[in-house]
């Protein structure tokens, strides 16, 4: 089982895909109608933040890549721009968990194997730290996006859009942190089927240390 695709891995990957799709649908269908000072909140960025915070930097980065690519399907900016920012956001979320010393199963540093393996989000989570981290990192992601846009030759992304979008982003992060935690916990929940020793879907990518409780 160590080298093959495990059942638990497949179920988990399907759940992650579902998490990405449903969040994106909610974002482009519902959240775009919520207007806070000329901008709308975003939940997609919370996926790498919450994943990274509880599952470690690598999983956060991978989830940033996946959610960023999904989000990039719906925006006219260069494909991959959002993913680039969110990879870093997810990674930083993992580091922030260490800084805040919160209760966690430990940083798996497992990347894709974290998605496909037996890891799961712990049940004991502090509401304030996660809301704070979501708020700060979602805001930082917006600033990073604006800076990158300005570097790509659109200075108005800093001057015109950034300040306007920050309040909506912060409000969205605070409001969305709870539901996203529930969703990420569901996606990474152990399904009662034991994974293999390195029961990962892409175990070759995960360097080491898939954690099992």
């Amino acid at each position: 089982m160590g080298t093959g695709i495990t059942v638990i891995g497949m179920v988990r990957v399907l759940k992650v895909i579902m998490l990405l799709v449903v969040t994106e649908v909610v974002e482009v269908s519902l959240l775009v109608h919520v207007d806070i000072l000329g901008a709308h909140p975003t939940f997609m960025v919370l996926i790498p933040i919450v994943s990274g915070y509880f599952m470690g930097s690598s999983t956060g980065a991978v989830m940033g890549f996946l959610s960023g690519m999904t989000a990039d399907l719906f925006v006219p900016t260069p494909f991959g721009l959002t993913a680039l920012i969110w990879i870093c956001t997810g990674y930083l979320a993992g580091l922030s968990a260490g800084l805040l010393s919160t209760t966690t199963d430990g940083d798996a540093a497992t990347g894709l194997s974290g998605i496909g393996s037996g890891m799961q989000v712990p049940n004991q989570t502090g509401a304030v730290p996660i809301a704070l981290v979501c708020m700060l990192l979602a805001g930082s992601a917006q600033v990073g996006y604006g800076l990158l846009g300005a570097l790509f030759g659109v200075p108005a992304m800093l001057t015109g859009y950034l300040l306007r979008s920050l309040p909506a982003t912060v409000v969205g992060a605070v409001v969305g942190a709870g539901p996203m935690l529930v969703a990420v916990r569901w996606a990474f929940k152990r399904d009662g089927i034991h994974a293999g020793k390195r029961g990962a879907l892409f175990s070759a990518v995960g360097p080491r240390g898939v954690l099992h409780r």
Binding site: E24, V25, E27, V28, S29, V32, H33, V34, D35, I36, L37, G38, A39, H40, G56, S57, S58, A61, V62, G64, F65, A71, L73, F74, V75, P76, T77, P78, F79, G80, L81, A83, L84, I87, C88, Y91, G94, L95, S101, T103, D105, G106, D107, A109, G111, Y145, G146, G149, V154, A156, T159, G160, Y161, S165, A168, T169, V205, G206, P207, R208
Partner: protein
């Protein structure tokens, strides 16, 4: 309570992902991925669109109520602006008859294209921009209705933007207010040619590359230029000059500020002009 450990592998994964993403961005910039990405975007939009239409239809009745909660400040400002415009229009009313006659003559002589023979496709607005870093809208009609990339989109009172992405049942329109929007215009009916760019700040625009020494006045109308190779047909109202304290660039050309003619919110339908570049 265990402090998370960091493994060297996490940095390797980060590096791999960043490099992969940079490669994808580069390939996308160079146009190598346009077919694959375009198809993926098209499929994604087709999948999501029924949800967007459903939610939009459901929320529309309460949309204005929600807007009023979140946008009280801007509504007050808009109200003041409308009062000011009302006063301005009352003053203009006296000369309307004369202007109407003039307009009739100009229309007859120049045959403003968007009133003339260009086919129009009326399309519903189903969603706004999915990112806060762009000014776009999504329409509920696409390639299956004859809409193609680059077609101009107009609202009640002027140019709104251009179609930048199209799939079978919908399309994305980049609004004139987006910083990526740059179009050739004519300031006044017989005035100088210039370039108008979006600012990302509501309906405010900048008018650049005005010939040095040009005297402009507030409320001077701005139209699409329609020069050879222009992306819009000539004579579509774009906006009007709102501030004439011009700035000068290195080559001596002047810039002034303008405001879009078309409103950026509150509309449910727009017209897509089935006109493509070079078809005049």
């Amino acid at each position: 309570m265990s402090r998370p450990k960091r493994y060297p592998g996490s940095r390797i994964i980060l590096t791999i992902l960043v490099l992969a993403t940079l490669t994808i961005i580069t390939l996308d910039f160079r146009g190598y991925t346009s077919g694959v990405v375009g198809r993926a975007k098209s499929i994604a939009h087709d999948v999501v669109q029924p949800f967007q239409v459903g939610v939009t239809d459901m929320l529309r009745p309460v949309g204005s109520y929600l807007d009023s909660i979140f946008q009280t400040g801007s509504l007050i400002q808009e109200n003041q602006q409308l009062r000011s415009e009302n006063s301005f229009l009352r003053q203009k009313l006296l000369s309307t008859a004369y202007m109407r006659e003039q307009l009739k003559q100009i229309s007859t002589l120049e045959k403003l294209p968007y009133i003339g023979s260009i086919p129009i496709m009326t399309a519903p607005v189903i969603a706004g921009a999915s990112s806060n870093f762009e000014s776009t809208i999504e329409l509920g009609k696409g390639a299956s209705s004859g809409i193609a990339l680059g077609m101009p989109v107009v609202g009640y009172s002027g140019l709104l933007g251009t179609v930048i992405d199209v799939w079978s049942s919908g399309c994305t329109v980049r609004l004139l207010s987006d910083p990526h929007s740059v179009i050739g215009v004519r300031v006044g009916v017989n005035g100088p040619y210039a370039m108008v760019a979006g600012t990302g700040n509501g309906g405010k625009l900048t008018v650049d590359y005005i010939a040095p020494g040009t005297q402009l006045q507030v409320d001077t109308p701005i139209y699409t230029s329609g020069l050879n190779g222009a992306i819009f047909p000539p004579g579509i109202p774009v906006g009007y000059v709102s501030k004439v304290n011009s700035t000068t660039n290195a080559s001596g050309d002047e810039s002034v500020q303008a405001t879009m003619s078309a409103r950026l919110s509150g509309f449910q339908y727009v017209d897509v002009l089935q006109w493509v570049q070079g078809s005049q």
